[in-house]
């Protein structure tokens, strides 16, 4: 991926996880994080978020990860934005389905806050342009 990873649109329904993750991503990874508490919020925020990456939870009330991804893909701003799923559901078949939907990677929960940023960078670096 040629462009530098700077802004992350982070969609997670649990507030506490959002807080921990935000701190890990900003403090440890040095990213800019745009937080969204639901898929709907993400869709609303996306046009102006100017995100380089979407970090997306799967199990969420209302729009789940898949629905959110589909909605984001319909927006011009995020139609081609890379997506990483961050989820507890990481059975091989599940992982395969995320990748099939166009995700560039999967980060299993619970994640290690000190490692997660490096993991994201590694995925970002390995993803095609």
């Amino acid at each position: 991926m040629a462009t530098k990873l700077q802004r992350i649109l982070f969609v997670e329904d649990e507030e506490e996880i959002r807080a921990v993750a935000r701190m890990a991503l900003e403090a440890v990874g040095g990213f800019e994080v745009v937080e969204c508490a639901s898929g709907a919020e993400a869709v609303a925020a996306a046009p102006t978020a100017n995100a380089d990456l979407v970090l997306l939870d799967v199990m969420m009330p209302g729009m789940d990860g898949f629905a959110t991804l589909a909605a984001l893909r319909h927006l011009p701003a995020t139609a081609h934005t890379p997506v990483i799923f961050m989820t507890a559901k990481v059975q091989p078949s599940e992982t395969a389905s995320y990748l099939a939907l166009g995700a560039i990677g999967v980060i299993p929960k619970p994640f290690s806050p000190m490692e997660v940023s490096n993991e994201i960078r590694r995925i970002w670096a390995g993803a095609p342009d």
Binding site: I17, V20, M23, A27, P110, M114
Partner: protein, 824 residues
């Protein structure tokens, strides 16, 4: 051909030969006797004829001798007289009557040739006299001499005369003339004609000089004739008197000849009779004999022929009879053998039911001896309740000659009073005009018992089939239901009549149908296939809902091994599935619900420990680290529980590919370095230069290796070393070994090593914290990868765990086979 017929044939041939032989002997004897008799008679006739001829010859000789004696005496007297009287004798002679039949003339001729006296018929005798004169002048002796018959011309008539002459001598013995008598040879014939003879007979007076004097054959007289070369003279050379058989030179007829040489005179008398005449009466008799013999022969031959015909007919009759007898005997023997060897008892009775005959089986059934049964009333073989029926049946057969046979089941009675169930086929037949009842009895107790047992089994089976709490269905090879039980119907919501004839495909979930089809084919194809096949299938109820079922399918085969139908047992596991799913969902939910707070806790603690929130005082930092470590442990526990649950429900997923194991070993080693460092244990690896690959899910294999490594580290003493080694085994398998030098595995723990939640130290204060699921999961993963896991341990010396993984090439080939297990 039957033996009897062959025997009859042989006997008849011998008889025929004897008859022919007898006939031949008889014929030969008869013909021999006839021939001998005829020969004998012929010989006898010939002998008689010869004797007669000899007798005649004697008579003839005497007669001739007398006649010639007369001539001799006359001429002698004349000679004496001439000597005494001289010329004067003439008167005396003239006075002599010489006109006898024999002496036809007398003459005395002087030495000078002067006829002194001539009396009788002497005419024309001049030349003969001169010849005689010359003869006697030359031959001394006064015996009477005879000439051969001479033809003289007497009184100008030809006459034949034999000239008898005697020399006359002077007293001094000088030749003085001769006396001549002219003899008529016919005299001898005349004599002979007086003898009865046959027309072909012959009488002859022959001079010793070989010339016949007179010869009479039949009515023909001849005089003279040279006989010197005749058979007579051959015979005379041998014997003076005799008989012989001659073949007439002139007439060609054969004659029997008797001859005698006269003693006084140079003549031979010969009498012959024709053989034909002699033989004729004999021949006539012989012909009679032969006629008789011929007649007899014809009679004998006719007899033989008739005998032959008779014997042939006899033989045919005998053969026919023998064959008929043989057939009869055979038929009788067969009938007897059949009757005796019949499994069924056979009993015959008179019209009134008195037993006439029984076979062995009947005796055996009723426990009697045959002689006991014969004469016994039939009702004694039947239990009292059946006797009335028996009497009625007998009465029916007596009154109705056309009554057909009847088959009846009765309770029969044995001699010892016990009973048995019997089936009786009875009918009436006419034997030699006698009405006979025939009963054929079969002991059907066993059959009945079997039938009862069968009915009971059937009922039992029916009850079991109908009341079983599992569904049972018999499905034809065409896939259609043949029989279904109530439970099966209830399960699927169909009535029995709806299900019968329905194709099983209609109640099978479309996604499971190909698998079911494949299984049915496999079961059919291979009779050695495991007797039954168990599988979980989704079935469709009538209302379209899904029924999870555990099916047990087997093929029911006929005696010859050919498949008849499928037997399917259906267990409704929908509820089980629901519970399973609930449990699974529960575990999954709980895990997820646990993960969310854990994510927050881990994140918070991680950031705190990482100093993101600023530097922490040491006691705080220590506590945070404890919390973080235990969070990690809790996360591992949750993960392990999830894995265990997935494994148990066979839902653990594998993303296998052929992978270089060296890389995976290095990754596992690297991930465990921190943990090892914490325990003061050194990790070392031994990876061969040549790549070792296996068909594995890399993450899962790393999970196994880290588990083994963490165990090894955990049980290693501080400063110890753990070695992870990779190798390719000679058989192509890959082997990963993890070796520690810890205390080894206690014997008592070894059997439980790979069980869930088992730990060597179960105390709550165990020094080595773990979930107790590690080895259980490791073994599950390795086995799923087609490999195996094991260990070597020695107490106090350490433990080596080894994982073997199959050769990727073979493993792929094996994995290519259709999976039979139902995916959950």
């Amino acid at each position: 051909m039957s033996a009897a017929r062959a025997q009859g044939d042989a006997r008849s041939r011998v008889a025929m030969r004897a008859i022919v032989l007898l006939a031949v002997v008889l014929l030969a004897a008869m013909w021999l006797a006839t021939w001998q008799r005829s020969q004998f008679e012929m010989r006898q006739a010939i002998t008689a004829a010869q004797l007669a001829n000899a007798n005649l010859a004697i008579a003839y000789e005497e007669n001739t001798d007398n006649a010639l004696g007369d001539v001799d005496q006359l001429t002698r007297m004349i000679a004496v007289e001439y000597r005494e009287e001289g010329r004067g004798v003439g008167k005396a002679i003239e006075a002599w009557s010489v006109d006898t039949d024999l002496i036809r003339g007398l003459a005395i001729v002087t030495a000078r040739g002067e006829t002194l006296v001539a009396t009788g018929d002497t005419r024309g005798a001049g030349p003969a006299l001169r010849e005689r004169l010359a003869f006697h002048a030359a031959h001394p002796g006064t015996a009477l001499r005879f000439t051969t018959p001479l033809s003289l011309r007497i009184a100008s008539e030809p006459a034949v005369r034999v000239v008898a002459s005697r020399r006359l001598e002077t007293p001094r013995g000088e030749f003085d003339g001769l006396i001549v008598a002219f003899l008529n040879p016919a005299f001898f014939n005349h004599f002979f004609t007086r003898v009865e003879g046959d027309p072909d007979g012959v009488v002859s007076l022959v001079g010793m000089d070989g010339f016949a004097v007179a010869r009479q054959t039949g009515k023909v007289s001849t005089f003279g004739g040279d006989m010197r070369s005749s058979t007579l003279f051959e015979q005379l050379a041998l014997r003076p008197i005799g008989t012989f058989v001659s073949r007439g030179v002139r007439d060609g007829s054969t004659r029997l000849i008797g001859y005698r040489t006269m003693q006084e005179y140079p003549f031979v008398v010969m009498v012959g009779s024709s053989l034909a005449a002699t033989a004729m009466p004999v021949r006539e008799r012989t012909r009679l004999y032969f006629t008789f013999a011929s007649a007899m022969s014809i009679a004998i031959l006719l007899g033989v022929y008739a005998m032959g015909r008779f014997l042939a007919r006899q033989r045919r009759d005998f053969e026919a009879l023998s064959e008929a007898q043989a057939r009869l005997r055979e038929s009788e023997a067969r009938a007897l053998a059949i009757t005796e060897n019949m499994a069924g008892g056979v009993v015959t009775t008179t019209e009134d039911g008195t037993i006439v005959s029984v076979n062995a089986a009947c005796c055996a059934m009723h426990g009697y001896r045959a002689e006991e049964m014969i004469g016994m009333p039939l009702w004694r073989l039947v239990t009292p309740p059946g006797r009335a029926g028996l009497a009625m049946r007998l009465e029916q057969m007596r009154s109705d000659k056309a009554a057909g046979h009847e088959v009846k089941e009765i309770l029969a009675l044995r001699k010892d009073g016990s009973t048995f169930e019997a089936e009786v086929l009875n009918s009436g037949v006419e034997i030699n005009g006698q009405r006979t009842m025939v009963g054929i009895v079969h002991d059907i107790s066993q059959r009945k018992a079997l039938e009862r047992e069968h009915r009971r089994d059937e009922a039992l089976y029916r009850v079991t089939f109908d009341q079983a709490l599992i569904g049972i269905a018999h499905t034809g090879l065409d896939g259609r239901f043949m029989r279904v039980n109530r439970t099966a119907c209830e399960m699927l919501g169909h009535t029995e009549s709806e299900m019968l004839g329905m194709d099983y495909a209609r109640v099978t979930h479309p996604q499971d149908l190909p698998l079911s089809e494949a299984h049915r084919k496999e079961l059919l194809a291979d009779p050695m296939h495991p007797f039954e096949h168990q599988a979980v299938r989704r079935l469709l109820r009538k209302d379209g809902s899904v029924l999870w079922a555990l099916l047990s399918v087997s093929v029911v085969r006929r005696d010859d091994g050919s498949p008849e139908f499928f037997l399917t047992m259906v267990q409704d596991i929908t509820e089980l599935k629901r519970v399973e799913r609930m449990k699974s969902e529960f575990v999954s939910t709980v895990s997820h619900e646990l993960r969310s707070p854990l994510t927050s806790i881990r994140g918070s603690l991680g950031l705190l420990a990482g100093g993101v929130a600023g530097a922490l005082p040491k006691p705080v930092r220590d506590l945070v680290l404890i919390a973080e470590r235990n969070t990690e442990r809790l996360i591992r526990l949750v993960n392990d529980i999830l894995d265990t649950e997935r494994m148990d429900s066979d839902r653990m997923q594998f993303d296998s590919k052929v992978t270089d194991l060296g890389t995976l070993v290095a990754r596992a080693l690297e991930s465990m370095q921190g943990y090892a460092l914490e325990h003061g244990v050194k990790l070392r690896s031994a990876i061969p230069r040549a790549a070792v690959a296996a068909d594995v899910d890399p993450d899962r294999l790393i999970q196994v290796m880290t588990n083994l490594l963490s165990n090894a580290v955990k049980f290693s003493p501080p400063g110890g070393e753990v070695l992870i080694a990779l190798a390719r085994l000679p058989d192509g398998q890959a082997c990963i070994e993890v070796t520690d030098h810890g205390p080894g595995i206690p014997k008592e723990f070894q059997p439980r090593m790979f069980q869930r939640f088992s730990q060597a130290d179960a105390s709550s204060t165990r020094a080595q914290p773990g979930t107790g699921l590690g080895l259980y999961i490791a073994r599950g993963i390795v086995e799923k990868l087609g490999g195996s896991i094991g260990y070597r341990t020695a107490e106090g010396a350490g433990t080596t765990f080894h994982v073997t993984l199959p050769d990727p090439v073979r493993h792929r080939a094996a994995a290519a086979r259709p999976a039979l297990a139902q995916p959950a």
